[in-house]
Amino acid sequence: MTTSTPESASGSRLLRYVDALREAFAQEMERDESVFVFGLDVDDHKSIQGSTAGLLKQFGPERVFTTPLSEDAMTGVAIGAAMAGMRPVHVHIRMDFLLLCMNQLVNIAAKARYMYGGTVKVPLVVRSMVGKSWGQGAQHSQGLHSMFMHVPGLKVVAPSNAHDAKGCMIAAIRDDNPVIVMEHRLLYPTEAYVPETPYAVLPGKARVVAPGGDVTLVGISNMVVECLRARELLSEIGISAEVIDPIWLSPLDIDTIVESARRTRRLVVADNGWTACGAGAEIVAAVLERLGPEGGIAVKRIGFAPTTCPPSPTLEAAFYPNPGTVAAAVHALVRPRDVAWTPDPERTKLAHQVQFRGPF
């Protein structure tokens, strides 16, 4: 199966991110009896914001079932079932809950194939959703992808649109390794053209989402959308940004980013997480290592403020990067001798975020 891109997609129709996810599960469960979906609330009337809607009726309670609030053991159960030949999809409605799963994910899932000399495999998908806005606060908002990028043996993916949500999920389910999927709650209602037939967005291939010549702007997860808005605002003042979506964070397609940064001489990474030891730090370092003596490019990391996420709207707005802060940072990098520039805040808002009314 070759990797799919939105441009190449035929037989497509507009579909929401959440419905694209649901379609991926339904099609893969139809194709492969060893796939099952489990986790707290996957079979209730709200069905993880609709992302597992209808699966219980279609596939029955042996393949779609809730769990006790036992994230540690349930992760181990998924790993054991995967080693025994099944393909579990373990669902967490918040990524913060993965901290309860770390022992199993890091000590067993990531290491089993290596530690047991290649005699086992762990085809496990761990779905987790990042929350943002509406007061998600300290423990319902964390993007913890960089923790998993640190560990050999795990794969990490952060789809930013409906097309990739379906394609990455199908690729993750078919992968023989444990895959951590970071979904984003605010992306659930966003639409893209999505093929009806199954397809994969495979690991290890980034996508140049929009071309540009002055700066390479890498966005992770929902920050791809925010970078695209920043790119529009920057174009109004004559700055041309190339926006890249890595899609898969591990394995990371650094080649595509290096190729772009070599040309633009400037690299900005906007992450859905903290900057310290984060995905942005890794991408910047990897690009500089690759460029070697020819380096000398200007770099910048953007991410959460180095604080805990606060729920109060005024504090929360200051905590998150947005198209305005991204555009301002890019401007400062491209025109360091100009006075600081910030776009009109009203024009930095994103419709799908403004329209969001919760609840989660």
Binding site: F36, E62, T67, P68, S70, D72, A73, M74, T75, G76, V77, A78, I79, G80, A81, A82, M83, A84, G85, M86, N103, Q104, N107, I108, A112, R113, Y114, M115, Y116, G117, G118, T119, V120, K121, V122, P123, P152, G153, K155, D176, N177
Partner: protein, 319 residues
């Protein structure tokens, strides 16, 4: 045990397993000071009767989940002995190609689930194998060996609840040797009513205190038969005693944290010697020479096998 041909056959089989484990581990202890085994070893000497008894109740389609003190269960379930010793020597022919060591033994063909060096971590993984056995309708069961320390981990309670809720075919076997590393139960448990704790999940439990291999085997047979009929999980707490130090080849009664007197009753009823006495001496002698040859061959195999080459480092990070 009555003197019938069938029972003699069982006794001989159990003895053969017990003696093989004992000889292997004594050989590990003997060579350990030469540093050919560059791996921590956690010997099960004195506790072998549990693995031997339980695994005698199993079939090839069944799985066992073993601990880092897992040599006994690995051997009792039929794990490849050459691959085990080669693994401890760090050789490419080891069961993990030199990537696991003594604490991560695995033999998928023999139904030995890989061991973890993080106490308790294997419990939910074993439960996942039981879930797969039920969903795939293999008819197989899973035995999850744990120590008393593992019952203190949260995932033990979580796994019991899930296994009982879904009526999974898994037998939890707690080898209660009274110590977690050097800490006795009295410093770790509010009460010693472990079976009562487990029973609250609706899981049938049994505590075996007599140190008898046949008692263990019969209890396992009964539990496994019920599980194959869809009866759900069961739990055995089996008292035993660790004769050697937590990690390493030696005794440690001079360290002051436990008394040699504790070992005396267990040594007096050593199951290896007791079962040997039940068998005709010529059978015992024949088994002895057979085991001596098997064990010598395994250590010679490990000695002669090549180490992995540095280029192998990057194999198997991903499937």
């Amino acid at each position: 045990m009555p003197e019938t041909p069938e029972h003699s056959a069982v006794a001989e089989r159990l003895y053969r397993t017990l003696r093989l484990i004992r000889v292997v581990e004594e050989e590990v202890a003997r060579v350990y000071p030469t540093d050919v085994i560059k791996s921590p070893v956690h010997l099960s000497i004195g506790q072998e009767f549990i693995a031997a008894g339980v695994c005698d109740a199993l079939e090839p389609r069944d799985h066992v989940s073993i601990t880092y003190r897992g040599h006994a269960a690995y051997i009792a379930k039929g794990g490849d002995l050459n691959a085990m010793i080669a693994e401890m020597y760090g050789k490419k022919a080891g069961c993990c190609q030199g990537r696991g060591g003594s604490m991560h033994l695995v033999d998928s063909r023999a139904g030995v689930i890989g061991a973890s060096a993080v106490v308790g971590t294997s419990i939910p993984v074993a439960t996942g194998f039981a879930l797969a056995a039920k969903r795939q309708r293999t008819g197989g069961v899973v035995v999850c060996f744990i120590g008393d320390g593992a019952t203190e981990e949260g995932c033990f309670a979580e796994s019991l609840n899930f296994a009982a809720l879904h009526k999974l075919p898994i037998l939890f076997v707690c080898e209660n040797n009274g110590y977690a590393i050097h800490e006795p139960l009295a410093k770790r448990w509010a009460t010693d009513r472990l079976c009562d704790r487990v029973a609250t999940y609706g899981i049938p439990t049994r505590r075996i205190e007599d140190g008898d291999t046949v008692t263990v085997r019969d209890a396992a047979l009964e539990a496994v038969a019920a599980m194959r009929d869809g009866g759900g999980p069961a739990f055995l707490e089996i008292l035993c005693y660790r004769w050697r130090e937590h990690v390493g080849p030696n005794e440690d009664f001079d360290q002051g944290y436990r008394s040699a007197d504790e070992k005396t009753p267990w040594a007096a009823r050593d199951e290896v010697a007791r079962l040997a006495a039940l068998l005709p001496p010529d059978h015992v002698a024949a088994i002895e020479s057979e085991i001596a040859a098997t064990v010598a061959a395994a250590f010679a195999f490990a000695e002669a096998s090549p180490f992995p080459v540095p280029e192998d480092l990057y194999d198997h990070v991903y499937a």
